[in-house]
Symmetry: C2
Subunit: 402 residues, 2 copies
């Protein structure tokens, strides 16, 4: 999957024919951008993956419906307000806002996708937002990618952007993207907001399969706090401007898959690294499970354990907690064969904690910590990324609404 | 279930014919009791419920095996060391310790049950402990119940004891117990350590069913941090000394069931109240689910959500988090019919967050907060108890091993 591509600047507008902009529309009290727009200069195929939460925000429902056609040309995003649990009124707000942007872009309404993030249960400040839409559309430029990445942040500390290119048979294809994460970040669904663009030409059904498969192996394998949002989505636009067609069976599609995997992987890791209160990243790898599914369940259980995550926060070697979390998972194994490695050092061997477990302190205090769990029950493998659970996480989330 | 019983002092030795003691055997650095013993003066029937974690400590394996016979007369407990993931050596330690106590009590080895709690992966300090066993047995007295309750604590702030009595047809039966909780407290299994005693006479198979049923509705419906321990167990002894026989179909059994429910309920609530870093208790009730199972899954998901628990810590009304957690659970419902009440006030109505949600601040800051979730999908009900997730929880658990 790790082909020789080149990382480039440009984020979500690095691919040819994509523009972005952001404005402050007064949703947040601070004068930071809180509404972003990403648009393709010409028609594009589109795909999305959405939260599996039963409580879904109106923008999610709208984007999901509009993507059935497989085409879209613009994405309107806002932070500071999730426009969720706002009833029919919230749905009308989202439709009206999308209609305003579509009109300014001279597009049919259903070519505009939408995403919102922020506090659940409050309404969008429609008057203020509608007033800003002309400025938002007028300022669409390739160079505004970072402004757009800033406009979707909530408690994130840093914007998250990534872009790369690769030459295939003399022609260059590019993939770029941006994301926001921070809290309510949980596995087993499309997580957070992310927009990914490419100038490859890809048919909508192919794009859909590609996005689903890659999301499963990247965004769906990370967790910050185990809480699933009502507004998560990953949206992907492909406008074909590179002139390279990625059709099933082609080398271009194989390369594009690799590039998209890298891009989403990069954004996923950035989200975990910038998780609320996060100071440290942990890779949890499980091997030797009866099935891949059991390995993944085990990796997830360990990655979600409050005791494992607080251990990581303190850099406090208590490997029994990793074993206890593995044992509480759905993976079946013989605890007398369990091995646990931290940064390549075997700390649990045949179900017994070794005497040098305290030496793990040094390894646990690295900015990235690799944990490997060997169950010796079969050939199933799985992995997860998580961050530590710190006092700062609690501070942030004890006072979010007020 | 709430019969007119009388709360009495005496904890785990309140029932006739039970004795307790505790000593400091040097497992913990501080001079606090760290080994406790509970014994019946005569033979007793016995039952236990154990962690469903696949990684089980030797004392758990020993007690589980010994309880197959349905009889036991003493329970040896220690804190400060879980004697878990210690391999064959840890198993030999536990057997040897039990043998020493059985010899001093003139009992066969298999009448002595064992339980340990504390750090996973370290060995018991056998020499120190064996030296203290004669003193432990010699100091068995009814009045040492609080010492015994203190001897099993880890990060708990308070000992947890409860006892009650009730007169049935002119004769008094008593139920008493003690527990320790604090961290690694999670639902869906027998949680933590608890010892419950009664002077009713109950056949072992009846006792076993009774304990399993009541544990399911009390200890298994609480959570502190969602982490399942390797050492959890609830042990119940019935020595018949009251002269009252609780046989199937009898009024005595009905009354005993009610008393045991009250006792375990009381201890479970005390555990949540004294959860690591806990400042506030939350009761989560779910009604109107398609089935009781779905209602329980929904209550559990809400009670385990880090975002709900940090909201509770801050007394910060963000009811969207409750709805998001319900929506992410296995319970199926129409989000447009969802109602959420806090302390009896409807804050979400038909899936829409009301404007007075901010008024919830006052209700959320009470020491006990009742949350009711109505799914309007059927008649299933469920409930859970949980506490808030505070910075103190993180502080305690970031530095537990060191």
């Amino acid at each position: 999957m790790n082909g020789p591509y080149r990382v480039i600047p440009g984020g979500v507008t690095a691919a040819k024919g994509f523009l972005a902009s952001a404005v402050n529309a007064g949703i947040k009290r601070l004068k930071k951008p809180d509404v972003s727009l990403v648009a393709s200069e010409g028609p594009a195929t589109a795909a999305g993956v959405f939260t599996t939460n039963q409580v879904k925000a109106p923008p999610i429902l709208i984007s999901e419906a509009r993507l059935r056609g497989g085409a879209a040309q613009a994405i309107l995003l806002n932070s500071g307000c999730a426009n969720c649990m706002t009833g029919d009124a919230g749905m009308r707000d989202a439709v009206r806002l999308g209609h305003a942007v579509a009109g300014l872009l001279r597009l049919p309404d259903d070519r505009v996708l939408m995403a919102s993030t922020g506090l659940i249960g409050s309404r969008l400040p429609m008057r203020k937002m509608l007033r800003k839409m002309p400025e938002l559309v007028a300022s669409l430029r390739p160079e505004h990618h970072t402004a757009a990445a800033l406009g979707i942040l909530t408690t994130d500390l840093r914007p998250k952007e990534f872009a790369m290119e690769r030459v295939i048979a003399g022609r260059t294809i590019r993939v770029g993207g941006m994301a926001k994460g921070a809290g309510m970040i949980a596995p087993s669904m499309a997580t957070m907001l992310a927009v990914v663009t490419t100038d490859a030409r890809v048919a909508a059904p192919v794009l859909r399969r590609l996005l689903r498969e890659i999301t499963e192996n990247t965004f769906n394998r990370m967790t910050v706090d185990g809480d699933m949002s009502t507004n998560d989505c990953v949206l992907l636009l492909a406008n074909g401007r590179s002139g390279v067609s990625a059709h099933p069976g082609s080398r271009a599609l194989r390369e594009l898959r690799g590039m998209l995997h890298q891009a989403l992987e990069h954004l996923a890791i950035e989200i975990v690294r910038d998780g609320e209160g996060s100071t440290r990243l942990m890779h949890v790898e499980v091997i030797g499970a009866r099935t891949d599914q059991e390995a993944q369940a085990c990796a997830r259980h360990v990655a979600c354990s409050s005791l494992v995550k607080t251990m990581l926060a303190g850099g406090d070697p208590n490997v029994g907690r990793i074993a206890a979390a593995a044992g509480a998972s759905a993976a079946r194994f013989d605890p007398r064969r369990l091995d646990v490695f931290i940064e390549g050092h075997r700390l649990v061997s045949g179900g017994v904690v070794g005497r040098d477990a305290l030496a793990a302190r040094e390894w646990l205090r690295r900015p990235e910590v690799r944990v490997r769990i060997e169950l010796h029950a079969g050939h199933g493998t799985g992995w997860m990324r998580t961050c530590d659970l710190t006092e700062e996480y609690v501070r942030i989330n004890a006072h979010y609404a007020t």
